[in-house]
């Protein structure tokens, strides 16, 4: 009888991959109404599966839903990393850190909001807006003085950000008492404590979390992106470790007692549901795909293939790298925010650098530079490791569950040995396919040529 579950988990995975294919195929249709219908259908199919119940057993139980939500957040994080690494060639291990930043940032906003305190949203919101303004201002000033070295530019940006942050804290602190009366009391909730307001705040908190992660990635990436590939990788690993250290000390070194440091943050409202997840998944897919398709995206690919040649073609390599890095981190921040409101509890242990290898594994697994591959691999990874292996090993006796993380690296090794270019290589489906425009064709030819040289996307000795 348990075999039914086992087969069910495989079938569900296959169905989800089919669902992804259908979604991407539909989004790739030329007419707007076709895209709209696809989105509604894709949303509806899963929603129906969630609602469908047959007696005791749900077709898509809370277990599967949890996996689905985690697969979607992982997709967001991994798509961001694929942009940074797959499309721009910057080997980054910091993605998990930005994920953690996004999670904690949005969680703090909604946590404070549910306890009748608007300061979280005001400070973080104002902070990201003022921060962005400050960054643009400094960027504009620096542009006038050509050739300012990275380190000096970094210093200016840092000062501007710190000033903006300080202003936001003061301003937010002054404004939030003004909003307090509208929260009402627990007996008579005011207009701001209504469920609708909470949903809006949730939406804003996700965006703010993404923007915050993006600004942090800007200030970190600016100096660090000037390092060579592997040195950059190690510096980003350092970033992930520093973020985790700060999260562990969030109540002692950082001034956030509600985050409770290593004890974990409790009481985050569980607002994530399939509607939000799906909306943001589509948003992220569209952002990443349009970025890659844009002229900046083509420059991004050029930088990956050959920095010197790209520079010779008039591409601002440093700016381009930074752009990809910031967009990728923004997306990771969104993913983190969604995750935080799904799990309802955050502990720094979840943002350890060991777990930070996961998005990297997924991106390579799916095929570097294949967005389709990343999405498929995210779903496949979660549903294999957390779904299938749990179901399988749960039936094999009391010692079997210890083998879960033994079988996983073996599967990883085998796959890498059989398909070093990843599950899908550079194959794209539907929406991501670019065979029907001239630049896309040229790109496909280029990547074929690079492959002929026998070194894939990354050259030896770089």
């Amino acid at each position: 009888m348990e075999l039914g579950y086992l087969a069910g988990s495989i079938v569900k995975l296959a169905a989800l991959i089919g669902w992804i294919y259908g979604l991407l195929w539909g989004l790739g249709r030329p007419k707007a109404w076709q895209k709209a219908v696809t989105i509604i259908l894709a949303f509806g199919v899963i929603q129906a599966a969630i609602l469908a119940k047959f007696g005791d057993i749900a077709l898509f139980s809370a277990f599967d839903q949890g996996l689905l939500i985690q697969a979607c957040t992982m997709t967001m994080v991994a798509l961001g990393l694929n942009l940074i690494y797959g499309f721009n060639g910057q080997f980054s291990l910091a993605q998990w850190g930005f994920y953690g930043i996004g999670a904690y940032c949005s969680a703090d906003i909604t946590y404070r909001w549910t306890s009748g305190d608007a300061s979280g949203l005001l400070v973080a919101g104002l902070g990201t807006i003022l921060g962005a303004l400050a960054l643009f201002l400094v960027g504009w000033l620096l542009k006038k003085k050509r050739g300012v070295p990275v380190l000096s530019a970094f210093t200016f940006y840092l000062i501007a950000l710190v000033a903006a942050g300080f202003a936001a804290v003061k301003l937010g602190g002054a404004l939030s008492p003004l909003l307090a009366p509208y929260f009402g009391s627990p007996e008579a909730p005011g207009v701001l404590a209504s469920p609708l307001a909470l949903q809006i705040v949730f939406f804003l908190s996700i965006i703010v979390a993404g923007a915050f992660a993006a600004e942090v990635s800007f200030i970190f990436g600016l100096p660090v992106l000037s390092l060579g590939s592997d040195y950059f990788g190690i510096a980003t690993l350092g970033f992930a470790i520093i973020v985790k250290t700060l999260l562990v000390n969030s109540d002692t070194i950082l001034p956030f007692p509600e985050m409770k440091g290593g004890r974990g943050m409790i009481g985050i409202p569980k607002l994530t549901n399939w509607i939000w997840v799906f909306a943001f998944l589509i948003l992220v897919i569209v952002i990443i795909r349009n970025f890659v398709r844009s002229s900046t995206g083509r420059a991004t690919l050029a930088v990956r293939e050959d920095e010197i040649a790209a520079r010779a073609m008039g591409i601002d390599v440093a700016k381009n790298k930074l752009m990809a890095f910031v967009v990728g981190s923004f997306v990771a921040g969104l993913g983190g925010a969604i995750y935080a409101h799904y799990i309802g509890f955050l502990a720094p242990g979840s943002f350890d650098f060991i777990q930070g290898y996961n998005p990297l594994i997924i991106v390579v697994f799916g095929g570097l530079g294949s967005m389709t591959g990343t999405i498929a691999a995210s779903f496949g990874w979660i549903f294999f490791l957390e779904g299938f292996l749990r179901v399988l090993l749960g039936q094999l006796g009391s010692d079997a569950p210890s083998w879960r993380l033994v079988l996983y690296p073996i599967a990883l090794l085998l796959l890498m040995l059989v398909r070093p270019q990843g599950l899908l290589g550079t194959v794209e489906w539907g929406f991501f396919k670019d065979g029907n425009n001239p630049i896309g064709r040229a790109r496909e030819k280029l990547s074929a040529a690079v492959k002929l040289k026998g070194s894939g996307t990354k050259k030896e000795g770089e």
Partner: protein, 378 residues
């Protein structure tokens, strides 16, 4: 696409019937991840209790079937495991998780599904009470909570060891040690003692020389080290090498056959029972555990504190089910609230916040043995 879904549906629906004579109990512990050793101990203790009950004919005529899942000591992984236990295996009872950080999100899921959760070892207060301070209906624990243990350690240090200056050493990322350290500090200063220094480390640290140099300079009369035996071994050994003779005191995490007695000699720790204890529960448990589990030299294993708590936690739950006369979780929950159970770790009742109330034994470590020192009633 649709056809695929139909097939999936058909396959899932073949699952259906559970055999009625089995009582499934979820056992959730970190078998992989950062602390597999804790998971292993708890799992061994729990499974020992299960096999003993099954040997006696199960509960209410039902055979207990443990469903073991790996919580990985991580919120997301434990949530997945619990979701699987609740939705797919349809368990009504979960024993676990071991880490508080993994247990807290699971208590919320379990509470919503009216699944009774009893964590053998999660010490964070928020395991059984929510953000607003309300007790969670379906969450219990079998371990001491920090204020009790930490407070008694402070009392003991101040009155028995006559220490006026204490140094506190704890793991920044582990709420068991944070909780004990905070409780100790509060009680110790209330009694009139002074905390002359506080240092933190992380669980992956192995070199404590710099911290020990600070301790030496601060000249405390007692050092609180409320961590598990592996850290205690590291710290006390390095302290001896540095010529530090101040007694170290700690909590039940010290209790393990792997405690390095030579290094920790002169220290004291609180525990659930004394190895010299002649109560039948203790004697039988030690005997049964040694018979059931062998170390790799073929000798019977000695349980550590985590295994003991796993064993008692499982027994508490099964006794409550028996007392309730039903596997309905609401009835079992009420039975647990009223329980008075003689376990290995003493006579246990539950307070309003679903924390166990039980006596505490203080043990002293000497070069070659662990000796009984005193016992403190709650």
């Amino acid at each position: 696409m649709k056809r695929v879904l139909t097939i999936a549906l058909a396959l899932v629906l073949t699952v259906a019937s559970l055999s009625a004579a089995d009582l499934k109990v979820g056992v959730l512990s970190p078998l992989t991840g950062p602390v597999p050793s804790f998971g292993l101990s708890v799992k061994e203790g729990t499974l020992l209790a299960v096999s003993e009950w099954n040997a006696k004919g199960g509960i209410l005529g039902q055979k207990i079937v443990p469903v073991i899942e790996d919580g990985q000591c991580d919120a997301a992984a434990a949530t997945n495991a619990a979701n699987k236990l609740i939705n797919q295996d349809q368990v009504k009872f979960i024993l676990g998780e071991v880490c508080s950080g993994a247990t807290i999100p699971v208590t919320e899921l379990a509470g919503a599904a009216k699944v009774l959760l009893l964590s053998p070892t999660a010490t964070n207060p928020n395991v059984t009470v929510d953000k607003a301070g309300k007790t969670k209906d379906f969450a219990f624990r079998a371990c001491y909570i920090d204020p009790f243990q930490g407070g008694i350690l402070a009392q003991f240090s101040y009155t028995r060891l006559k220490a006026k200056n204490a140094f506190i050493l704890y793991d920044q990322g582990n709420d068991y040690t944070i909780g004990l350290a905070n409780a100790f500090e509060a009680q110790f200063t209330k009694l009139g003692g002074k905390v002359v220094g506080k240092e933190t480390y992380t669980k992956t640290d192995t070199d404590f020389s710099a911290i020990l140099a600070k301790i030496k300079a601060a000249k405390p009369e007692v050092v609180l080290l409320p961590d598990y035996y592996n850290i205690v071994n590291l710290v006390t050994k390095q302290a001896k090498e540095k010529g530090i003779t101040v007694p170290f005191v700690g909590g039940d995490g010290w209790d393990s056959p792997d405690l390095d007695k030579a290094a920790a000699a002169g220290g004291y720790y609180t525990n659930h029972y004394s190895p010299e204890d002649k109560r039948a529960e203790v004697v039988n448990f030690l005997k049964a555990y040694a018979a059931a589990y062998k170390d790799d030299a073929g000798k019977g294993k000695v349980p550590d504190a985590l295994a003991t708590l796993g064993y008692d936690g499982a027994n508490l739950l099964f006794t409550a089910i028996k007392n309730a006369g039903s596997t309905d979780t609401t009835k079992v929950k009420e039975a647990l609230e009223k329980i008075s159970f003689n376990g290995v770790t003493g006579k246990i009742t539950f307070d309003k916040a679903h924390n166990p109330v039980k006596a505490l034994t203080i043990l002293s470590v000497t070069k070659d043995k662990i000796a009984f020192d005193s016992v403190v009633q709650p």
